[in-house]
């Protein structure tokens, strides 16, 4: 692409933490969801893992909190071009849930679904090995509803639409099944470092 006449952009220092095409949103945390923010109390929240597992199971708020807590501190990247550095989330590693349900060896992908009906697909290896969380705290406080509270999925190494808000469950599959935005033209995996924004990228 050619240079845009007269465009310099803001003064900037190269930042190795910023994936290509992203900008630092600073203290802003834009909200991007296509649905009405649900009115979901912790007491009504449940989280289920099923599909290709030995032992399907549903956790309620109290049961999920009995699992060992785990925090994420690092960066997040949204496909709409903002990134946010040094954010802190508290919750439980998905590994702790998988230890209980025991995935079959045939499981290769998951579909994450929310209490609003939103879905997104992920390779299983993107949500295991300490790379994904169920998060209910942001910066030491309960996760706000508009950001997915009481609890959301957190997969910080992928674009944030993969981190389904108001997470309700994961279904393990032996194949890939495009979720909501993926059916709407977004990339199947969404790796920010490879700029996998739209299908075909």
């Amino acid at each position: 692409m050619h240079v845009t006449r007269g465009f310099t952009g803001r003064p900037r220092v190269p930042d190795a933490g910023l994936p290509p095409g992203q900008y630092d949103a600073g203290d802003d945390w834009p909200v991007l969801s296509a649905e009405v923010t649900p009115d979901l109390a912790p007491a009504d929240w449940t989280f289920r893992v099923d599909g290709l597992v030995e032992q399907p199971r549903t956790w309620d708020w109290t049961q999920a909190h009995e699992l060992p807590s785990s925090a994420y501190e690092g960066d997040i990247h949204c496909v709409t071009s903002w990134s946010k550095f040094g954010v802190r989330f508290g919750g439980v590693s998905l590994d702790a849930f998988f230890d209980v349900v025991r995935p079959h060896v045939s499981a290769t992908h998951v579909v994450a679904y929310s209490h609003t009906g939103y879905t997104t697909n992920l390779p299983l290896e993107d949500v295991t090995g300490g790379r994904a969380w169920i998060a209910w705290e942001y910066d030491g406080k309960p996760l706000p509803a508009e950001h997915g509270g009481p609890a959301r999925l957190l997969v910080p190494h992928l674009y944030f639409w993969k981190s389904a808000k108001w997470i309700a469950g994961l279904r393990l599959l032996d194949h890939d099944e495009p979720g909501f935005w993926e059916q709407n033209g977004y990339h199947g995996r969404g790796n920010p470092w490879e700029e996998q924004r739209y299908s075909g990228d």
């Binding site: 465009f7 952009g9 095409g21 296509a34 009405v36 649900p38 609003t116 309700a168 299908s199």
Partner: protein, 251 residues
């Protein structure tokens, strides 16, 4: 225990249309042909995009600018023009204080300049003109809704369409000359004589939900996140089903 919990499918509605993934992936050159001032803070930018695949009202595109050192800024913009304006695309941009991309458009851009766009993107907020449309927008959130209104007019559609649009003041209302009987304007800071000042309220929404067209309204809400939260709550409280509310948040 809800051990048989299955996801509610109420929001798992498909997009209104299937998007062309090829069109979404390819960057195209868009040449600026015209700039029209809408309000002191918003202008419309008209482009020629020769290979534009066509869009539906409500869709947006991604636009990028490149600096000499290779730095690239990209942002999403809703498409303001209607699809029958073949080979052309219009965007309406607010001049955001200190904004990198909108700042360039409002202070540097002139006809003949070239930028790059890809799209159209997302079928979710699209309106094919089939169902009755109840449109709520604020500020530049009216942009994709205007594309719907323009299409409705251009094609002489008979399916009901209503627009409730919120702006700070009459001077800041975008597209003010184009509204007709289908539109109610709400002013939050200052209003013409005799028009009350205040936020969009149940009183604006309830009468429209009371006059339900056959098949019910498909509601489209667009604006800042604060507005989207407020307006979608008004709709839910007035009885609009959540699975018939589509929201586009500008952040």
């Amino acid at each position: 225990m809800t051990d048989t919990f299955a996801p509610a499918t109420r929001f798992a509605v498909p997009g209104r249309i299937a998007v062309s993934n090829r069109a979404a992936a390819v960057w195209q050159t868009a040449t600026l042909t015209e700039i029209r001032r809408e309000t002191p803070h918003a202008s419309t930018f008209r482009f020629v995009v020769p290979d534009w695949a066509g869009h539906l009202p409500g869709q947006h595109l991604m636009l990028r600018l490149r600096a000499e050192d290779g730095y690239v800024a990209q942002r999403h913009y809703s498409i303001a023009s209607h699809p029958d304006d073949a080979g052309h695309v219009e965007l309406t941009l607010d001049h955001v204080e200190g904004g990198e991309v909108s700042g360039w458009f409002h202070t540097v851009a002139r006809p003949g300049d070239e930028v790059e766009v890809r799209g159209p993107l997302s079928g979710f907020f699209a309106w094919p003109g089939d169902r009755p449309a109840l449109l709520l927008g604020a500020g530049s959130g009216v942009v994709p809704l205007m594309s719907m209104l323009r299409q409705h007019r251009a094609r002489g559609l008979s399916v009901p369409l209503r627009l409730v649009v919120s702006a700070r003041s009459p001077e800041e209302l975008i597209y003010t000359r184009e509204y007709g009987a289908e539109t109610t304007a709400v002013f939050t800071r200052s209003a013409p004589k005799g028009v009350p000042v205040g936020r969009m309220a149940a009183a604006h929404v309830a009468p429209l939900l009371a006059e339900q067209p056959a098949g019910g309204w498909e509601a489209y809400v667009c604006g800042s996140n604060g507005f989207a939260e407020h307006a979608s709550r008004l709709l839910v409280e007035a009885g609009q089903p959540v699975d018939r509310i589509r929201i586009e948040r500008f952040g």
